[in-house]
């Protein structure tokens, strides 16, 4: 377990060293070493932890110097935000930042000598041995934290490797953007360090510190190009995430005063225990939990806070990939999954589940009207996170099982899809889905990768669909019919936007435009590993469920739970075999068959190349086929405003009821 400080310090070191290297080639090598190091250290930690018997390890009870250092760090972060806000004349944001930092400083510095033991004494009277010394660990390594470490380190590390090749091509295409790649890589590594710290933290104050760092770094990454749009979007991301940070700070301040603990798992366990045994007293934990859930909702870009993630598209693709797949938004759902046992059956849980379910359907509808590849991916991220959030809000064993599985599959597939779209953009000069017509013939390798990613997002029997199946079942068992309806309609719209993208890719359309694949080898290495991981996750799905997800459920809920029966596993095996082997078999069967190839029917006379036809003037006309985008029906302009109003209304009303009910 001594590896943990090294694991966090290594990307930190990389973040400092990489921008100091001027030579591009040497810097690339440094990034490879940095990313490889993170992955190796994470796998090393996994090996040590496995060898130790997969235990729930609690670490660092006494850390006064570090605690002080973090408080200083928070003040410095606040200073940085204030400086940048003043420079860009965004004064209201200062209030949010100063407010929450002041609140946290006050809570930490004037913290009364009131611990969980004192709180317990209030309930049971002085019968309890008052000398019991509580252990207050600041870090915890359990199954869920370990899974997150692996996701962050491996997916994040691969994204850093991909970024080396990508940034070269990016600055080749965008000559107007000042080349600040050194800074960019530095931020990527800093992000990984903060994220690793966040998922390993058990103390809420530590978690808050890392939480704030990720908010600030995502702000810096989004503003990378320094265009007007980038600055605007980066400040939007900043204020929304700071709003969530305010919720976090309130939660810490309240929890330290009312129940005397700022340990995440103590808070959750206490809440569960009180609800079961002393319902009259349960109200004391409601406010901190609701505030933490609120912070989780902002970070995971749920409605009405989705706009920051959509705006984040202006940054270079690796940062989008990082924000969407391995880090940032996953921090939000990670916190919600941690909170899940305390959310089950409560008003806060219902609020989280509603917001999640509503976001799932609303974002998937708006995705239909997008023709920008990255926008579609952004909406799909928001929508999928909505499903995970809804599962966390219901908070029973089945839904958390589905949530964790969704998270694993989403991280890998989404990272791969972003990388593929980024590479296509560098080659084609556009990320418009319309310009990807017939991509299979033009950039076959990238198309295969994209195809695997898209299939992984929605087709049977890939993991996302299995999770959806389990989610549907558990929504019924939880008697939440609204979520069932959301899921039923949301799946249909999800299917629509992915299918039309996929069908665009597979059109066998020959064009005369020459396209050169400028994707570099390191980009392909990263993408191929992702593709292999997606396929393996799908093939080894029962093992993943047994070896990774079941222990997480056991540790979170204290009892083991069998979500998938043997019968379901057999059915899935049949599906898996058929999906992988039927097309292959058919390919082999039809390859030998003799076919006469004929030109397609085009209305006008086909010029012979299936690309031009004779129009009514007797001249050759280029065939142009477009997808449906249904902008009037599903466009952002039509749906975004009502969706934000509805979700914001529900959120405000329910938060008022929750907080009011607890007072």
């Amino acid at each position: 377990m001594n590896l943990i400080p090294v694991l966090i310090a290594w990307p930190l070191l990389a973040a400092i060293v990489v921008p100091c290297i001027r030579d591009k080639r040497a810097r690339g090598v440094a990034v490879y070493v940095g990313a490889g190091g993170v992955m190796t250290l994470a796998l090393g930690l996994l090996a040590v932890w496995l060898a130790g018997g997969k235990r729930d390890v609690l670490l660092y009870p006494e850390t006064e110097i570090l605690d002080t250092a973090m408080l200083v760090g928070e003040v410095l972060l606040m200073g940085l935000i204030v400086f940048l806000c003043v420079r860009h004349k965004k004064y209201p944001v200062i209030l949010l930042s100063v407010g929450q930092t002041a609140l946290l400083l006050w809570a930490e510095l004037t913290r009364p000598d009131f611990t969980l033991v004192d709180f317990a004494a209030q309930i049971f009277g002085p019968l309890v041995d008052m000398n019991t010394e509580l252990m207050q660990p600041h870090m915890r390594v359990d199954c869920l934290a370990m899974l997150m470490v692996i996701i962050v380190a491996v997916v994040g590390g691969l994204i850093c490797i991909y970024a080396v090749g990508y940034m070269k091509a990016y600055h080749h295409h965008h000559a107007d953007v000042q080349d600040r790649s050194g800074f960019f890589f530095s931020m990527l590594f800093l992000f990984l360090a903060a994220m690793l710290g966040l998922v390993l933290s058990e103390s809420l104050t530590w978690m808050y510190f890392f939480w704030e760092i990720t908010s600030v770094i995502s702000f810096l990454l989004i503003g990378y190009t320094r265009t007007e749009e980038a600055v605007r979007n980066s400040f939007r991301a900043l204020w929304i995430n700071l709003l969530g940070g305010c919720g976090f700070a309130v939660a810490i301040a309240v929890a330290s005063r009312t129940v005397g603990t700022t340990q995440l798992s103590d808070l959750v366990n206490l809440s569960v225990w009180l609800t079961q045994n002393q319902p009259a007293l349960a109200a004391v934990t409601v406010v901190p939990i609701a505030m933490l859930a609120f912070a989780g909702l902002t970070k995971s870009a749920q409605l009405p806070f989705s706009s920051w993630l959509l705006g984040a598209m202006v940054a270079p693709t690796p940062s989008s990939a990082l924000l969407h797949s391995a880090t940032m938004v996953k921090a939000g759902v990670y916190l919600l999954i941690r909170l899940a046992p305390a959310l089950a059956g409560t008003m806060t849980g219902n609020m989280v589940a509603f917001i999640g379910g509503f976001t799932f359907i609303a974002a998937s509808m708006m995705a239909i009207a997008q023709n920008d590849g990255k926008k579609v991916l952004a909406f799909s991220t928001i929508s999928n996170l909505g499903l995970i959030v809804a599962c966390a809000g219901i908070g029973d064993e089945e839904t958390i099982w589905a949530a964790v599985l969704l998270m694993i599959f989403h991280s890998v597939s989404k990272s791969m899809l972003f990388q593929a779209v980024g590479s296509v953009e560098n080659s084609l000069g556009s990320r418009d889905i319309e310009s990807m017509h017939g991509l299979l013939l033009r950039l076959p390798k990238l198309t295969y990768i994209m195809g695997i990613g898209i299939a992984g997002m929605y087709l049977a029997p890939f993991g996302m669909l299995i999770s959806k199946w389990v989610a549907l079942k558990s929504f019924i068992d939880a008697d939440n019919y609204l979520l069932v309806i959301f899921l039923a309609f949301g799946s249909a719209t999800t299917m629509f936007y992915w299918t039309k993208w996929l069908s665009k890719l597979v059109s066998l359309h020959h064009t005369k435009e020459e396209v050169h694949d400028v994707t570099r080898r390191d980009q392909y290495v990263s993408m191929s590993i992702h593709a292999a991981a997606t396929l393996l996750l799908c093939l080894l799905f029962p093992l993943v469920s047994q070896g990774v997800v079941d222990p997480i459920i056991t540790q979170l809920f204290g009892e083991s739970y069998q979500v998938l029966s043997m019968g379901v596993l057999t059915t899935m095996a049949v599906m898996l075999v058929s999906v992988l082997f039927v097309p292959t078999l058919m390919f082999l069967l039809t390859r030998s068959a003799h076919q006469n190839y004929v030109p397609i029917y085009m209305g006008g006379v086909n010029e012979g190349d299936n690309t031009y036809f004779v129009n009514s003037f007797g001249e050759p006309e280029h065939l142009y086929l477009s997808n449906w985008y249904l902008r009037f029906e599903f466009g952002m302009r039509r749906l975004m405003r009502p969706a934000v109003y509805i979700s914001a209304g529900v959120l405000v009303v329910m938060l008022c009821l929750i907080v009011g009910g607890a007072l």
């Binding site: 049977a460 309609f489 799946s491 599906m575 006469n596 190839y597």
Partner: protein, 286 residues
């Protein structure tokens, strides 16, 4: 028992489907005041299609069409094996993906338009299929077809709304008016032959056989509403399937094709009103 019913489905479904197709052509013709083709005309058509020369516009169409056929057969087998109905419906939509890919791969204007409309049709009917399995789960406590049909009372008693909704979307799946947007059995067409424009000879034959499998699968789901542990529910289910099929033909002949917007709106509204309300009631009385 399961194996027998799966094998029977795999062997008999195309014949039963073609026979029903023949009946539907005759019934349609009578409704229009015509005599109609012989009962076995679909068989003659298929025979002819498979004897034709193999012509194609690209190399993958045949393989995607074959995959469509095999996946429909797997989906149907799952239903007839008494397996999980939700998984069966998931496979059904995966099968449809292959048909859409086959049509899109041609990059031809008419078949691409047909493929887009097919996606729209899936989006219109999919919520109901998911809710349908939810309905069966709420009624019988299981997603398993084997459990659903061995209850003392038929599911229809608890879920009449779902049957109404299912009747509407069956029109989409059987490519009947008013929802035959992507391709149609009727001669009047605005999209030439839509989805199937570029399919010829054996490729088109395979597509037809696949549709027969799908037809029997849909009627099998209708039967699920009526089957229970008593023997007399089986003839009742068959009669009800035939009745539903007849009503589909009737609806096909009395209505004109609608625009996609009308189809989407009406299907979603019907889904919400019939299946949505029925499911809500089921959940409340539980």
């Amino acid at each position: 028992m399961q194996a027998v019913s799966v094998i029977l489905y795999l062997i008999l479904a195309p014949f039963a489907g073609a026979l029903l197709d023949g009946v539907s052509r005759i019934v349609s013709a009578r409704m229009q005041g015509r005599k109609g083709p012989p009962l076995l005309q679909p068989f003659y058509d298929l025979l002819k299609l498979f004897q034709k020369q193999m012509i194609a516009v690209n190399s993958v169409q045949m393989l995607l069409n074959l995959s469509y056929l095999v996946f429909l057969a797997i989906a149907g087998s799952m239903l007839f094996a008494g397996a999980d109905i939700l998984m069966c419906l998931f496979i059904l939509s995966t099968a449809d993906m292959f048909l859409i890919m086959a049509a899109s791969s041609d990059s031809s204007p008419f078949s691409s338009l047909g493929a887009s409309r097919e996606m729209m049709q899936i989006m219109a009917y999919e919520p109901l299929t998911l809710l349908l399995s939810v309905g069966f789960y709420l009624t019988t406590g299981s997603f398993h077809v084997g459990d659903i049909i061995s209850r003392p009372v038929s599911a229809i008693v608890f879920m009449p709304g779902f049957l109404i909704g299912f009747f509407v979307i069956t029109a989409i799946k059987l490519r009947k008016s008013p929802f035959d947007l992507s391709t149609s059995h009727h001669a009047h067409q605005e999209l030439v032959k839509g989805l199937t424009t570029e399919m010829a000879g054996p490729t088109f034959g395979i597509m037809n056989v696949a549709e027969y499998y799908e037809m029997i699968l849909m009627l099998g789901i209708v039967a699920l509403f009526f089957l229970n542990e008593n023997w007399w529910s089986w003839p009742l289910a068959i009669v009800m399937c035939l009745l539903v099929f007849f009503l589909e033909i009737l609806w096909d002949n009395v209505s004109a094709r609608v625009k996609w917007r009308t189809m989407l709106d009406s299907c979603w509204i019907v889904t919400l009103l019939s299946a949505g309300l029925n499911g809500l009631i089921l959940m409340l009385i539980q």
